[in-house]
Structures are given as C-alpha cells and as structure tokens.
Amino acid sequence: MKALCHLILCLGFWGCCHAAQADLVVIANPQSGIEKLSKDEVINLYMGRNRKLASGMNAMPLDMTAANTEKAKFYALLVNKNLPEINSYWARLMFSGQGSPPMQVESADEVMDIVSSNKAAIGYIERKKLDKRVRMIYDPTQ
C-alpha cells in the first residue's frame, strides 16, 4: 500500500500520507490509577471500543469541539484520519445503536479543569499546557 501511496504522490497529488505535526499529549487524573497507555489503548478509548480503565471505572474520554485545531491534529496523529471521517465513523455507530462519541468540550482549559477534578476523565492537550494537576499517560513522540 505504501508503494501505491508513493505512486499517487508522484502523480502529483499533495497533502496525503503525512500526519499533521502537533505536540499533543494524552492526560489523566493523577488519582486515576493509570500510569501509561499504549497507542492502541488510546485508540480503543477514543474510538469507543473499550470504556473500562484498569481501575474498573468507566473512562470518560474528552474530545474538543472542531473549533479547536487540536482536534484535527489529534485524530491525524492517532488514526491518520480527518474530521469528516471521524464524524462518519461515529455517525455509523450512533445511528445503529452502538454508542455515542466522546463528550466535546470547548477549550483546553476546560479539558484541564475536568481531568484534574475527575478520576475517570482523559483528555488531550498541547504539551506546553501540562501542569502538575494532571498526569501525562501517552506521549506520541515516545
């Protein structure tokens, strides 16, 4: 498939195949009992395949509204998809009774507030916004 992708690139289509560069990390509450998550675990939580955390609690993944550029970057990084594709994916699940998308919040500050005050919450933010109220549980660069 990489060869095909390369071929398409060579044929003069741009903008395919490279994930958006963004310095995003996934965070959880320090009391959540989560030390680290693997990329697959993050995908499973954000794509609604699993809900349970190691602690036995239902995870509450927080998503951001599309007005935040972090959202598009996060999904490009996580599953190499654009927002219409993510919306299609969730629409299929929602309208066939298999669950609903993660809760959407308006801003990074709100993500920080909810994660720092809620043991089950998980969110993504820019690395530079990290502080000690939250714990980084997934770093895409590592």
Partner: protein, 403 residues
Amino acid sequence: MLSLATQVHAADDDSKPFTISGFGTLGVVHSNTRNVDIVRDLTQNDGVGYTRQTDFGMDSNFGLQLNKSVSDNIDTALQVVSRRSANKFQPEVTWAYARYVPNDNLQLRAGRLGFDVYLLADSRNVGYTYQWVRPPIDFFGSLIISYFDGGDMVLSTPLSGGILRAKVFAGVAREKTSTGSPDEFLSLNRSRLLGGHLEYQTSNWIYRLGYSQLTFKNEFPPLQPLLDNLRSPYLNAFIPSAAGLANELSLTDNKFTYLSAGIAYDEGPLQAQLMLNQLSSASLLFPTNRAAYLTVGYRIDQWTPYFTYSASRPVNKNTASRLPLGVSPDIDMLAAAFNDAINNQYNRQTTFSLGVRFDLTEKSNVKLQVDDIKTDDYFLVRNNQPGWNGKARLISIAYNFIF
C-alpha cells in the same frame, strides 16, 4: 445550559436531557434507459428509468433520532426514518431500544433493532457514513428487512491485540416489501428472525462471518393462484404429488438463510471492503444465490475517489419441471407458471461503479457516482419492458448530512 463541567459532576444522569440528532440525503439519479426501473432495494416498487428518467426519490431520506441516557450503563434511543420503501415515504420507527452495557465484555439490547445481517446493513440509510451514493445494489438490494422487534447480545473479549465479538439476535420482522405489482405486498409481519455473527477487529481490519435465518409467516401474494391450483383436488386426482409441490414452493413456514463473510480494511485515507453472501431457502421459489462486492476508496484532502465492483449469481440454473407435461393443456399451463415463478427469482447482475465523495463541511458531503449495470435476470429490477437489453447506466448525485 449547564456548563459541561457541572454536568460531569452530576451524580446521576437523570438531569441529562434528550439529545436529538439526525441524518438525511437529498439524491438525484438519472438513467440512460426508459426500458427498466432500477431500484435501490426490493422494498421499492418503482425507481429510475421507466417510471421517471430522473428520480429524486431513490436515495433521498430523512431520519431523526432521540437518545436518552438512563444511567451509566443504560441508554435508550428512538429513530424514525422517512425513505422510499413499500410505504412510500411514510415515516417508520426503525429503532426503539434500551441498551444495557454493564462492562466492556457484554452489551444487551431489546426493542426494535436494526437487522445486522452484514457489515453496514444496519446503517445503510445513513448516506453520510459510507463512501458510496448507495450500498451496492447487487449485494444489498435483495435485503428486504431493515429492522425487527426482539433482542440482541454482544459478547466481546480482547484477543491478541484486537477485539473478538460474538453477536446473537432473535425477534420478529414487521415490515412489508414490494412484489413488483403496484398494490401487492409481501408482508413479513411476524416472520421469525434469528442469527448472529463472529467478528474480529484490529486497528485496521475487521473480519466477520455471519449467519441469519428468516422463517416466513405469510405467503408471497403473486404465488397464491398457482398454489391454489396445485392444491386443487382436481389436479391432485391426476398428480398426487401436486399438493406437496405447492408446499415446497410456498413461502409460508419455509426458511430463508443468509450466510455472509466480510473483510474491511481501514487505514488512514485508505478504505477497502470485500463482502460475500449466499442466500438460500427451503422454498423451491428462491434458488440459491451468491453475491459479492469489492470496493476501494482513497482520500486525498477532501476528495475520496472510489470504485466498486459487485455481482450476483445464481448457484445453478436448472428449473426442472416437476409436473408431468402433456397430460392436459391445463397442467401444461400450470407447469409453465411454476417454472416462471422460479425463473423470476434468479438473480444474475453485475455492476461497476466509479465515484467520488467530497467532504463539504464536517457534517456534510456530496457524492457523484456512475453505475454501469448489466442484468441477465430481472430479480433486482422493476418494470422491465420487452426489448430491454439488460444494460443501464446511472448517474447519481447525493448530498448527505448529519446533525
């Protein structure tokens, strides 16, 4: 409006209002022939071509859904859809269920549920969610059930990096479907359905094997005169096997079986699917038929060009006359009617489609699709006119949205 942070802290979810969401498609399709009606599926009695050369109704639909979360593990939903089916555009309740998800390994649902016979079958009204203007007709067109009243259960377990799911469902069908005659319908009401599938999903692959069966409760109306004749004492005096033949031909109490296998690959901008099915029945009326499709699409920015090749084939085509010929003209006519009834159910059709999806906004897209259809049997089409060469080319544009 409560701030979300406050909602998160709410101890119970009873304060959560209903959420209302919906989807719709506005489609237009044009056929190059007036000698046949191409339909989206067999629930539609007329389509594009013969009845109208340019059709706004084939793919257009509108759906509304109410969701309410009852507790952390229980939620309910109601979905109403208006689309062209046997009831014209009369809105129908397509989903109305309560769902219980105590943990990641179990999901139980009860109420009115989508018929999850193949991958994507229970979301085929939601045009926004797939690449095509419509699901491949050769594969999905013979699907006359969208929902049933009953229950289903999904068991899931992590397995070597992926998730293995087993699903079982059972219930009764409620819908009716067109038969090709304007005011004759096959009622599926109270026909029993049961089935299930095994599915294995990894980050990029989904594999699924499925089995479903439908036990018809009611008779296929166009068949009734023939059945009455076969069961007549007069005929059975001559041919003692005739009444037995009627029972073999009849739909009532006979089983219809769907076997399916599907593989879907989804990696970033690339999506591909290969699906196979086999439909067979205990009734002589429906000969065993197989269908398959392969589709591949690749996203480049907002554009996703795709192609689909789909085909349907009868497994074997030999309608042996089961009635002795030459006994009397009446019986000869009956034998011809008997063979006709079966011949009409063969399904040999091939379609090649090319299209492109354009992501207009985050919640809407537009698709353009060209289908080249080649038919040797008339099972999936309506109103075929004498002299039709079995070919049709459709050009479709569809605007799809969700909210």
